[in-house]
Amino acid sequence: MTLLETLPLALLGALLGLDVVSFPQAMLSRPIVAATLAGAFIGNPAAGLTIGVVLEMIALDTLPFGASRYPEWGSAGVVGGALFAAQPSGMPGALPACLLATLLTASISGWSMVVLRRIIASRLERTRDRIEEGSRDALLSLHLSGMTMDLLRAGLVTTIAMLIFGPLVAAIVAIWGSESAPSHAVVVVIAAIVAGGALWKVFHSVRHVLWFFLGGLLVWTALLVTL
């Protein structure tokens, strides 16, 4: 993939990366949305959705509480969806390799958000006197530059990740040694464990939560038997 070819994806990654914190936090940046949209960009929304669902299960473990550091799923979701949608169908290594690339991107992108917040803090320090005097210009400049830098940050992360992981994932998929079923099984087990653990962490204090979960499992079993 050339730099020119990554531009539309970089734009999508930039916009969805902006959604994570800066604007409008409408959860367009959730991987189930971001990866599907990126897949649609490549012409294969179904593939984007598949990896998006797996990522969404993993993302349940990283809810964006306050000032905590968490992976940035907006740009990463775009990278994951685009990478997986670009692989030939039926390749056993495609899902695990793309998932790994996406998790690495999410981690690095999360770190880039921390750096951005420090940069904004240092800019604030330089303009603090003017803001303390009630300068509208200083406040608007700080705020809008923060959003612009966030947009650029997310676009840059998407571009670099696509340029690095595009050829790397293609090479991994080409020499993949494991069979298809076990490859998918590993991904499914990982997603199930992380999602299950995350939901327990979030909902363990809810009254009768296990009974509700078991009720859901019962419905699933009924569906399995009847359909």
Binding site: T50, E56, A59, A106, R117, M147, V188, G196, H204, V219
Partner: protein
Amino acid sequence: MSDSSRRGTVLPLRVELAIYFRLLAMQGSWNYETLNGTGIGFAIEPALRYLPGGIDGPAYRAALARESRYFNTHPYLAGIAVGALTRAELDGVESARLERFRTALAGPLGSVGDRLVWASWLPFCSLVAIGVYGAGGSAMAVVATFLLLYNAGHFLLRAWGLRIGLSRGLNVASALGNPVFRQGPQYIGSAAALVAGVALPLALQRVAGPGRALAGGILVTALIGILLLARLRERAQGWRIALGVLAVFVLYSVLT
């Protein structure tokens, strides 16, 4: 304009809309020094223009400086704070009282919002979307379900917060006793657990693809893993473990 005549100033609809729109961008300058503070200043600014002297007046400048200081809140509930502070600034409430109000309001808004939105509504909507995928839904159906459901709650909550803040001013604290905040996480959590029981296995089945040869192994391994992770709770980050395991597996599959 005297303090008494300013009391009850009604903002034009376009100003309320401007504040609402700015609330969507209020975290644009989020930083480790003032957290949401400058965002609060950014959102409230259109209303402060109605202070005596307008945009060049000392009242405007003092209020903008005051509202841009340190503040912490959940972004979706920031409207409550912005609305209340707008009302108070326009009513000419004294500075010391405003500072005390800001300090008292910040903590509860953060924790209530985190519990209701990040720890309840968001995972619930994710699970519903995952369930739609598991039931065979198309890409469009899954994405539309998630975005419409989630944002119905999101945008309404923001609008309600701003409205209640503007109408109640400094008496807004009672709004946090709303049953949605007190009981919502409990009910949404129960619903999420029920949906998780159906949605996760359905979706995982679809991801795994046809064939049941490995189904037993997957189920047992997943259950053991979930139990281990559940025991570790805050001490382990599932996604980091996933990253490590996946890296080892990819390496193994490439080298063999």
